[in-house]
């Protein structure tokens, strides 16, 4: 859903933010379990998010 929203936002040139969900192990940034891809690096939903700018998250790596 967020991937579709992000695609729509890009198409319509909308700015905004989105709140992500991910399975978290520790919830405090140590286990690296909740990583998502942003640009060329992985960021942690628990510590670096959960709110990210629309258009910055790479959802293509989801299975």
């Amino acid at each position: 859903m967020l991937a579709a929203l992000q695609a729509y936002a890009r198409e319509q040139r909308l700015t905004g933010q989105m709140s992500l969900e991910a399975t978290m192990g520790c919830g405090i940034g140590t286990c690296q379990g909740c990583a998502v891809k942003q640009a060329d690096k992985y960021v942690k939903v628990c510590e670096d998010g959960p709110v990210f700018e629309i258009g910055t998250i790479d959802f293509n790596i989801k299975p």
Binding site: A22, T23, M24, G25, C26, G27, I28, G29, T30, C31, Q32, G33, C34, A35, V36, K37, K41, Y42, I61, K62, P63
Partner: protein, 308 residues
């Protein structure tokens, strides 16, 4: 005997003395500093860092984590800052800690293991190295070294030659005969063994028919693996003379005591840190409570006392 006495929780792993038997497992306790707000870190028995590699590693593509029955599957992929950043950014905090700081070392080649160890060798404040030859989530290195007695011997021998420090080797349960691996690693110069790393597993989403982990396979941990881990510890402790650190699904002090009875001199706690960041202290307190209840003066006395 006084009604409430303070049992002696000190344990010895060869030259390594721990104020209590509870060590936080690699990959579940970051670089230690993340937990300072939750607890007095000086009271834990020992701390094992995330696996450190020569170069920084971003880790595997997500999803990396999935909860399963009584456990968790992970495929993090040894994400870490690399040895240089570890020494300059993480080690200064660890150096000030009172508990034994054990640095987990990983590599994809023998040369990489040796180069990480050589780089760590001159740093102050490291009590021991834990050689990771058992990670199930990396394509090269990791478990491929730990699943074969000859390959395990070769990498441990190279590591032994590169360090004067206490060398602990962490074994994988994903083998036919863990005792054979243990004997081979001890013959190559290991000072102690850490038993066990995670158990390879996978999870599937039936509707999408896709694996729940992008890496397809992951390492299973948590209470689901405790019986399996106990059997491994018992087998290894009977096969070698060096001290064994036992772990796999420990949640309580009594769980820890069971591992010690099976032959572990100390225990490592991992997944429980994700439920309770203070778990290492609570489990040590649980061990003390057990000793008081059972009138055990020194916890070390219960090691390997299984009645069969």
């Amino acid at each position: 005997m006084k009604k409430s006495f303070a049992p002696d929780l000190t344990v010895r792993l060869g030259d390594l003395v721990l104020q209590n038997p509870v060590i936080t497992a690699s990959g579940t306790f970051g670089y230690g500093e993340e937990y300072r707000e939750f607890m007095n870190l000086d009271r834990i028995g020992g701390l094992v860092t995330k696996a450190i590699t020569l170069q920084p590693r971003q880790g595997n593509a997500p999803p990396r984590l999935v909860e399963t029955a009584a456990g968790v599957l992970n495929a993090i992929g040894l994400a870490n800052v690399g040895v240089e950043a570890f020494l300059s950014q993480k080690m200064p905090f660890l150096q000030k800690l009172k508990p034994a700081v054990i640095v987990n070392v990983a590599g994809s080649t023998i040369d990489e293991y040796v180069r990480v160890i050589e780089r760590l060798e001159t740093a102050a404040g490291i009590a021991a190295l834990e050689l990771n030859i058992s990670c199930p989530n990396v394509r090269e290195g990791g478990m491929s070294f730990g699943a074969d007695p000859q390959a395990a011997h070769t990498v441990v021998k190279a590591a032994r030659a590169a360090t004067r420090r206490h060398l602990m080797v962490k074994l994988t349960p994903n083998v036919t005969d863990i005792a054979a691996i243990a004997r081979s690693v001890v013959a190559a110069g290991a000072d102690s063994l850490s038993v066990i790393n995670t158990v390879q597993g996978m999870a599937i989403d039936a509707v999408s028919r896709r694996p729940r982990l992008k890496n397809v396979f992951g390492g299973l941990s948590g209470p689901a693996i405790k019986p399996l881990a106990l059997a491994c510890v018992y087998k290894v402790a009977r096969a070698v003379r060096v001290p064994v650190v036992g772990g796999g699904g420990i949640m309580t002090g009594e769980d820890a005591v069971e591992f010690m009875i099976a032959g572990a001199r100390a225990v490592s706690v991992g997944t429980v840190n994700f439920i309770n960041p203070r778990a290492a202290l609570d489990i040590a307190a649980g061990i003390a409570a057990f000793c008081r209840k059972e009138k055990i003066v020194q916890v070390a006395d219960i090691v390997g006392t299984l009645h069969v």
